[in-house]
């Protein structure tokens, strides 16, 4: 069978699942998705309009750009100012505002900042530019961290000593625990399917077992999301929270063992700052000592800036699902996609950017 996404975008099928949701959902239920890809799918395909009024969908801190700390962003800007440095980054970070600048602005000032699709392009850049130092900005969750781990591993094997990783990789479960701890009254989680393809589904076990909250591991097509919502509604209505895997074509219960092993070889958990959530213990990934030669934090002196949330910016509360973009005083006034104040507006999967783009003001 040709694996085309149209298979999971069939309107009739989506309508049928929506109908089942409507029939099943009796009590008010609050569901949170913790992945920018899900936020985007819900809005792009207008899925909210297919759901009954009993269901409230909240958007959580699943956008790695949105949760990158100001300190990290300031570090990226600082690194870009070293003449010998080439910054290699995923496109997502280019426009994110740091304290006083952004990578886009630094590029205008002469910073050598290059967008890549794969971290391996950064390794090639290091090979082709022996007199320069290539720093790769490692953002993303467990979906993307294995690629960085692979690159660091290869760098060490071939002694690519001018390649460095500046990691802001984060782990999903500690954030979920932090969210479940808060009195946010979330009844169920739409779990990120691609993170789960690496980690497996057991990482979510604590949510039903310790917090009584249901989990559906979901794919990203509209049919996937709708089916996941149906699973969560059924769990909730029957009072039986569980971890269910909707994305069986990609996610296995044990996940990708090879990727997990590589992560364990190269990275170790560390306390990490999440924009809006503060410091979450053991929620980030930093290079182990064996790889310190490739660690930008060890090789460069990056000043630790003290960071203040811009006046009026409530990105933090939005990331926790406590407030909506429209409740932010800066939304569509001083904070617009053209001139973003907070990360929620810059990232194409930030709640504010999505609300701005997909909804009538």
């Amino acid at each position: 069978m040709e694996m085309r996404h149209e298979l999971f975008r069939d309107r009739t099928a989506i309508g049928a699942v929506a109908e089942q949701i409507r029939k099943t959902s009796r009590k008010p239920i609050r569901l949170m998705e913790v992945c920018g890809g899900h936020t985007l799918a819900i809005h792009k395909f207008g899925l909210r309009s297919l759901l009954p009024g009993t269901i409230e969908l909240l958007s959580g801190p699943g956008c790695p750009v949105c949760v990158s700390s100001q300190q990290y962003l300031d570090g990226c800007v600082e690194l870009s100012r070293f003449g010998e440095v080439i910054i290699a980054t995923y496109g997502d970070l280019i426009r994110v505002p740091a304290s006083a600048s952004s990578l886009e602005k630094e590029r205008g000032r002469g910073g050598d900042i290059r967008v890549v699709y794969s971290v391996m392009e950064a390794l090639t850049m290091a090979e082709e530019n022996p007199g320069r130092k290539v720093v790769f900005l490692g953002i993303g969750f467990e979906t993307t961290a294995p690629a960085s781990a692979y690159a660091a591993f290869v760098a060490q094997s071939v002694k690519r000593d001018n390649f460095f990783l500046y990691s802001a990789h984060k782990l999903m479960p500690p954030a979920l625990r932090a969210l479940a701890d808060e009195s946010l009254k979330i009844d169920g989680f739409i779990a990120p399917g691609h993170v789960s393809s690496v980690t497996g589904t057991e990482i979510y076990r604590f949510l039903p077992e310790e917090y009584g909250k249901g989990v559906a591991v979901s794919g990203f097509e509209p049919l996937d999301v709708m089916q996941s919502i149906l699973l969560l509604v059924r769990q909730f209505e029957s009072g039986k929270p569980a971890v269910e895997n909707q994305y069986t074509r990609v996610v296995r219960p044990e996940g990708n063992r090879k990727a997990q092993q590589l992560l364990a070889t190269v990275f170790e958990p560390a306390d990490e700052q999440w924009r809006g959530l503060g410091t979450i213990p053991q929620s980030g990934l930093q290079l182990k000592n064996e790889f310190e030669a490739y660690d930008a934090r060890k090789h460069f002196t990056i000043s630790t800036s003290t960071w203040k949330e811009p006046e009026g910016c409530i990105c933090g509360e939005i990331l926790k699902g406590l407030k909506t973009p429209r409740q932010c005083p800066l939304f569509n006034t001083s904070c617009t996609p053209d001139n973003p104040v907070g990360a929620c507006m810059v990232s194409t999967e930030g709640s504010c950017a999505i609300t701005y783009k997909y909804h009538f003001t």
């Binding site: 996404h5 975008r9 309107r11 989506i14 920018g36 890809g37 809005h43 792009k44 395909f45 207008g46 899925l47 309009s49 956008c63 790695p64 750009v65 995923y90 496109g91 997502d92 280019i94 426009r95 886009e104 290059r114 967008v115 890549v116 699709y117 392009e121 090639t124 953002i139 993303g140 979906t143 993307t144 509209p222 617009t336 996609p337 053209d338 990232s347 194409t348 999967e349 701005y356 783009k357 997909y358 909804h359 009538f360």
Partner: protein, 338 residues
């Protein structure tokens, strides 16, 4: 043997520059007015309703599937004239060459421009050349100025003052081909696809449309920023409501796949051979037939209409029965993980 390259002296005004101009530019462009090498081209224009346009071309890479910077520099300017309702008459071109540019690459570009201009029947009558030191340019930048005359009945098509609710919006094919062709050509991503730039001279197609339907209300070519930007401009200019049907927009499957992979929206991707046409409802079918009859319009479609509601705004009816509004693009589109 070392391949010949542009040197600073090629821009110095001396014999090296003269040789470059005579043996490469003039020889290939072949126009007698140009060959006269006077400070200005002295021309006759039929009529006094003149369309004048200028554009700079800085595309990277300079060679891409479906074209090159030279072909682009000619087509882009011809198209700006054509969508204004003008018959293009003359072009003039200026080059900023970076020291170190391979002369063989320059030859290729000049050849491309000459062939495109010849096919269009529009001579290149004036030109200029400058050379900047290595690192101060990016191989070659081209600025093209074009001039044409506009018949009286078409003076309003550029500004769209006759655009009305009920008018239909048409496009001559699937958006996004140029932008994707160029982007995938950039070495570092290493994605290979058969997508070719749609770079083309639209004047022959537009002439057919105007002959069939002289009551065209608006035309604009959709270059950087894509068709979304043109429609936002139209909505803003005329304070008109624009409504698009996602299902009606022609799709190039490979462009769609590339967009999916990299996180782009085809509506915002640059084109170099696509134009938006706005016509009264009664003429739409006839215009569509004329467009589809032409090789540059086989995938033409009616993609939306002008409405009474939401003046100044563009709304897309999605394939899922929802609606979202289309705004100007912010920043560039960049490949994302997210």
């Amino acid at each position: 043997m070392e391949e010949p390259r542009i040197r600073l002296a090629h821009g110095g005004g001396g014999s090296l520059m003269n040789n470059l101009i005579r043996n490469h530019f003039i020889r290939r462009f072949g126009d007698p007015v140009l060959a006269g090498q006077t400070d200005s081209a002295v021309l006759e224009l039929p009529g006094n309703r003149i369309a004048l346009t200028t554009d700079s071309y800085v595309v990277d890479p300079i060679f891409f599937p479906g074209g090159d910077i030279g072909k682009l520099a000619v087509c882009g300017t011809l198209n700006d004239l054509a969508v204004s309702g003008a018959c293009p008459l003359y072009l003039c071109v200026s080059f900023i060459l970076e020291e170190g540019l391979l002369i063989s690459d320059l030859e290729r570009i000049i050849g491309s421009m000459a062939a495109t201009a010849e096919e269009a029947g529009v001579p290149i009558v004036a030109g200029d050349t400058k050379v900047v030191p290595k690192g101060r340019g990016d191989k070659v930048f081209i600025t093209t100025t074009g001039i044409g005359t506009i018949p009286e009945e078409f003076t309003a098509v550029g500004s769209g003052i006759n655009v009305n609710p009920g008018d239909r919006i048409l496009i001559n094919g699937a958006p996004g081909e140029h932008g994707i062709a160029v982007l995938l050509q950039r070495e570092s991503f290493r994605l290979h696809s058969p997508v070719e730039s749609d770079c083309a001279n639209l004047y022959p197609l537009i002439r057919e449309v105007l002959e069939a339907c002289p009551d065209v209300h608006f035309m604009r070519d959709a270059t950087r920023g894509g068709i979304a930007t043109v429609l936002c401009e139209l909505a803003g200019m005329r304070n008109a409501g624009v409504e698009l049907d996602e299902d009606a927009i022609p799709v190039n499957r490979t462009v769609a796949d590339a967009c999916e992979l990299l996180g782009f929206d085809p509506l915002y991707i640059a084109n170099e051979g696509k134009a938006i046409f706005v016509l009264p409802e009664a003429s739409a079918a006839k215009a569509l037939r004329a467009m589809r009859n032409h090789p540059l319009g086989r995938q033409s479609a009616v993609i939306g209409c002008i409405t009474e509601g939401h003046p100044g705004k563009v709304i897309l009816n999605t394939s899922f029965g929802g609606q979202r509004w289309i705004d100007y693009l912010t920043g560039e589109q960049l490949p994302r993980i997210c």
